[in-house]
Symmetry: C2
Subunit: 367 residues, 2 copies
Amino acid sequence: MRELMVNLGERSYPIYIGEGILNDIASLFDKHGISRKSPLLVVTDDHVAQHYLNGVMSSLQNGGYTAASAVVPSGESSKSLAMLESLTAKALEAGLDRKSAIVALGGGVVGDLAGFVAASYMRGIRFVQIPTTILAHDSSVGGKVAVNHPLAKNIIGAFHQPELVLYDLSTLQSLPARDVRSGLAEVVKHGLIWDAEFVTWCDNNAEKLLALDAEALGYALYKGCSVKAAVVSQDERENGLRAILNLGHTIGHALEAVAGYGEFQHGEAIAIGMIGSAKLGVRLGAPEDVYTVTRRVLGKCGLPVRLPEQYDTDAIMKAMMHDKKFGEGTVTFIVPTAIGKVEINKQIDVTMIRDIVNELKQEADWA
Amino acid sequence: MRELMVNLGERSYPIYIGEGILNDIASLFDKHGISRKSPLLVVTDDHVAQHYLNGVMSSLQNGGYTAASAVVPSGESSKSLAMLESLTAKALEAGLDRKSAIVALGGGVVGDLAGFVAASYMRGIRFVQIPTTILAHDSSVGGKVAVNHPLAKNIIGAFHQPELVLYDLSTLQSLPARDVRSGLAEVVKHGLIWDAEFVTWCDNNAEKLLALDAEALGYALYKGCSVKAAVVSQDERENGLRAILNLGHTIGHALEAVAGYGEFQHGEAIAIGMIGSAKLGVRLGAPEDVYTVTRRVLGKCGLPVRLPEQYDTDAIMKAMMHDKKFGEGTVTFIVPTAIGKVEINKQIDVTMIRDIVNELKQEADWA
Ligand SMILES: NC(=O)c1ccc[n+]([C@@H]2O[C@H](COP(=O)([O-])OP(=O)(O)OC[C@H]3O[C@@H](n4cnc5c(N)ncnc54)[C@H](O)[C@@H]3O)[C@@H](O)[C@H]2O)c1
Ligand SMILES: NC(=O)c1ccc[n+]([C@@H]2O[C@H](COP(=O)([O-])OP(=O)(O)OC[C@H]3O[C@@H](n4cnc5c(N)ncnc54)[C@H](O)[C@@H]3O)[C@@H](O)[C@H]2O)c1
Ligand SMILES: [Zn+2]
Ligand SMILES: [Zn+2]
């Protein structure tokens, strides 16, 4: 079992990564100050519930905890104020008090939703993440929690750090293949912004990751979480450095919006976006391997490396201009300067981005 | 003009109290770091809007700010998730970004609601309070913001401190008399828990306060805010000391619930509750004047000092047992030990409270 601290002063918390952790939940909860005197609420979605809810509930009950559970429909649409209201009702009915904790068992959707319930219930109670997707290695570090508004994603939320994160690798075995690939995009991103050696490791171990090899996955998620933790420790409230986590996301979010939500998986869209960023980096003077390596590693992870021609460049540019990263008229981009290194460049010419988007349509498919 | 700092480290903020401050909004905003580059959203209710919204909007616009406004129906029912959703839409339409501020112009309802919009919009943006009720001297200090859930009051919220508070005494002139009296209950409470001299001052100046004498009001609100600020500075997140602010509230909340919300004003209910606490204090050994002075000052402020017989003691006791201050089975009460001094007593026998509730029905009316 690997252990990692996210250092945030008095809000620091540990992440445990390993196989079979779900059996030890109660002792880890106890070790990290989750009280047995106050009831818990376990929040999950209907896919995850089928596989893991009973196990988690009996682990907790056998360990002396009182816990209620709430199952929301799987998918992004559960990140809503309506669901916040119904989970708050569940918490009230289960008698949660200020010393209670809310437990998120699932992917990023459940983590963001349950985390915001925890952030707002009685103005903030404890929160535990039990991520069950690869993408959730990203969402479970950093304390960003939110629900969506019909007019904008993640617009109603908070910064609310968990007490602990329990990552049981065994749960990833049931994850659909497309979610595996999509999650790997953020793993690779964490290498690209911070750690060249880890990018080389991904290049050499992509096949093991796709095959859900436990040792390889454990290492990759440990490294991914470590990078995210390092960045977040330096900039908890997203005032500066944290922006580098958006590598590939400006183009990626625009693609998701233009294609219609659900068409691209998030990881697929940002894979294309990261290739765009790599091309931009090379144009601005980075060595050529920034592009070739980025493309190769993402391709090996089974992610798209070409933008399908049917998506209109104008529409993509328009969607991008609404992205909040374009604050106060300046066009800011996260630009790689080498493998494992990026800069926050506030002076990027919009026409250069347009060229890049067009070029992304001319990329070869991955062999 | 009086000025007061709420000391909360990097979240410290000033409160300005005086007549005609609304004319100087723009320069005070500017002085305290509210940016002119990002749009503002002024939130108010339909009563307050009639009197003050145009003035505030033109003050801001003349001072170089871009501001949109949103008017919610007056009353407690606006503290809802539905209103959070529609105000978030307003904020998005008005183009609010991370450097924008939300301005609450109104009483505690508008402050709590707009404050929670500010706390959650883009995971937290700046917030300015412009209180227009006497009660709001209480709600504008301490950073507690929230909306209600159909099953519980103030259950969905945050701690989110404002950037500044602008208290224009002129706005209090249009306040209905019942809201004046109700607001004074919290003013007196701040004396009772912290400052015996101020209680004496209230005893001598109650008539001026009821007549909305600007000098007396300014002083009383300054003192009330000062006490609240002192308590909150020592316990921002309500882990201990802050509980003393609940003097009279355990009985008070039960009365509000049993009578049906809206029957008692909040200040009326806690006035009766504070007399109950004073009686309890005397029973437990406090000098007799704890009761006589508490009763006299509240009576002079036109507040009820007797519990009408029609409210069933059993129903009140039952409502009280659901109050969250009864954590983990122990009955905790804020008990006066002298005028200006209280203790947090966790050992109060429920039957003693029942006796007190019954006795409250036998009190004489205020002459
Ligand atoms: N808070 C953050 O910092 C942050 C960062 C990145 C993404 N996010 C958010 O994360 C969300 C996406 O997360 P996600 O990709 O994990 O989505 P998700 O939670 O919807 O999970 C993807 C799908 O896999 C299913 N699933 C989850 N675990 C499973 C398992 N072990 N076995 C079988 N099926 C399983 C789910 O039911 C769902 O259908 C988005 O809402 C995004 O905004 C948040
Ligand atoms: N956040 C906190 O720490 C805290 C503390 C105490 C109370 N509260 C909350 O405050 C709320 C009660 O506050 P309130 O008593 O100010 O209620 P309120 O905001 O509803 O105002 C009372 C009434 O007066 C009207 N009004 C307000 N200002 C006016 C003016 N200047 N002229 C004419 N009419 C005016 C309003 O429209 C309303 O009808 C409750 O929701 C309570 O939960 C919060
Ligand atoms: Zn992402
Ligand atoms: Zn009160």
